[in-house]
Assembly symmetry: C2
Homo-oligomer: 253 residues x 2
DNA sequence: ACACCATGGTGTATTTATAACACAATACTA
DNA sequence: TAGTATTGTGTTATAAATACACCATGGTGT
């Protein structure tokens, strides 16, 4: 919560630097120990959880703004990041709009403005991400998809829409490059797909299909150390991966 | 072009009623005589063509705003209309931003503001649409996709993105209900698909596949009058069509 | 009246993709 | 050294997509 003085400073700063009425919210997916994770923030002194978000600088392209937010929250750059929907219900942020209504008149009160938010989703490398709270938050943390806190505003809806979009994209886009470590085994990659789709897949058919896309390189050295048979390691063939991103994986008609 | 007085009135009105920094542009597709058409507007006294667009009222959901714009330009309501992308480059509307810079200071000049535009695309019934110019325009007309005027700003890019999206959607969504007349023949429907995809399709495979979706009803009376063999008429089965819209047509995995 | 032709309806092999299932190889454990 | 969980590599059955051939109809030109 802001004091009046803090609120005034925040609003002055926001009015000066940001495009009014527009915000960005990011659904940042990571993958670790067989679990799909999402980055969420907890407000200071409140039991209120949010998706990472922010505003667009006056001369900043929106994709750049989304990247900036992603980098601020994770330290990561040059990541798969994709706009997926604009949420523009006038009531979507009513609790925020009314939050400080007694402290400042609506004109000067950034919070009382209507905001449309552009939803972006990102797929990032869990291990290299360094979750960092923003100035309003005291916690920035990964949470399992199945163990999410209730999210404020329409952020639950935004998350669900992102997940639906991700599942759809899976059908005609390669994913995984940003979610997996550089080298990984086929079963590990399969686990990612199973987790995103929330569905078991057949080992052998998965492998055949995946290799059929031609975006994987099998490495010479199998993974050692673990119990059981040593699995082969794979890495993504970046050229073909990029090509598949642009051209799609199969497509009907 | 506005006179100074007109500009002031326009800006006062806009500031009062619309959400600043947000616009909507619609790519309205129609289909007639085997041609995919797009609705475009020509500015008064200028050889400048645009997509139909507008702004969002302060308390209006964005989908409602898009529908309002669609209705104003075509008279049609309850139409397939879908948000597909936000265009948020700060330079995207520079020519507009600079247009009236000598008449009004930037603060008061709506045109000098940066606008992000939300792209919507619609599929409408060509025959029942009644193209109607807005107050800045003198022409509102259908143009063949292959015979488009050069569009101002980034509207060419918006159109292309809409078309790409439409082609992609074709793979997992039924289309045609809003683009075809109530009753149509299979070859006519095929022509629609061929036009959108810009690609010949096999008659027999198209028919099998289409019927396989279970969204068509074959009517009892074949079309008469034309030369050659009388083709059957079909109509969409609205229940199944709606279901297919919600659930998708096939989907991988 | 008749062959002709453009168009529409229907059917059938061929190929390809998806799905279902079985067995051998490995590396640790007991 | 047998047991077990895991990985690798098939093979077969089914369904879908593709390619192609033939007949039917209603007009045209002679």
């Amino acid at each position: 919560m802001f004091t009046k003085q803090e609120l005034i400073e925040f609003c002055d700063n926001a009015r000066l630097n940001f495009v009014d009425h527009i915000s960005i919210d990011c659904v940042i997916f990571g993958f670790h120990e067989g679990q799909l994770k999402v980055l969420v923030l907890k407000m200071k002194d409140e039991d209120a959880w949010y998706l990472p978000g922010g505003f667009v600088l006056k001369k900043e392209p929106i994709d750049t703004a989304a990247n900036r937010i992603l980098k601020d929250r994770t330290g990561l750059d040059k990541i798969f990041l994709q706009q997926f929907h604009v949420f523009g219900d006038p009531e979507r942020s009513r609790p925020h709009n009314e939050m400080y209504r007694d402290l400042l008149p609506p004109e000067e009160n950034w919070f009382s403005h209507r905001f449309l938010t552009i939803g972006y989703y990102a797929l990032v490398d869990f291990v290299h991400a360094n979750p960092t709270p923003d100035s309003h938050s005291e916690v920035c943390a990964w949470r399992d998809l199945g163990d999410l806190p209730k999210l404020e505003l329409d952020h639950g809806h935004i998350l669900k829409t992102a997940l639906d979009t991700l599942r759809l994209q899976l059908n005609y886009q390669p994913i995984g490059y940003n979610l997996m470590p550089k080298e990984f085994t086929m079963p590990e990659l399969q686990k990612l797909y199973e987790t995103i789709l929330d569905q078991k897949l057949d080992r052998r058919n998965f492998q055949r299909r995946m290799l059929g896309f031609g975006i994987l390189n099998r490495l010479d050295t199998p993974r050692k150390g673990g119990a059981h048979k040593a699995p082969y390691l794979y890495s993504f063939d970046l050229d073909n991966y990029q090509k598949a991103l642009n051209e799609g994986l199969k497509g009907g008609w």
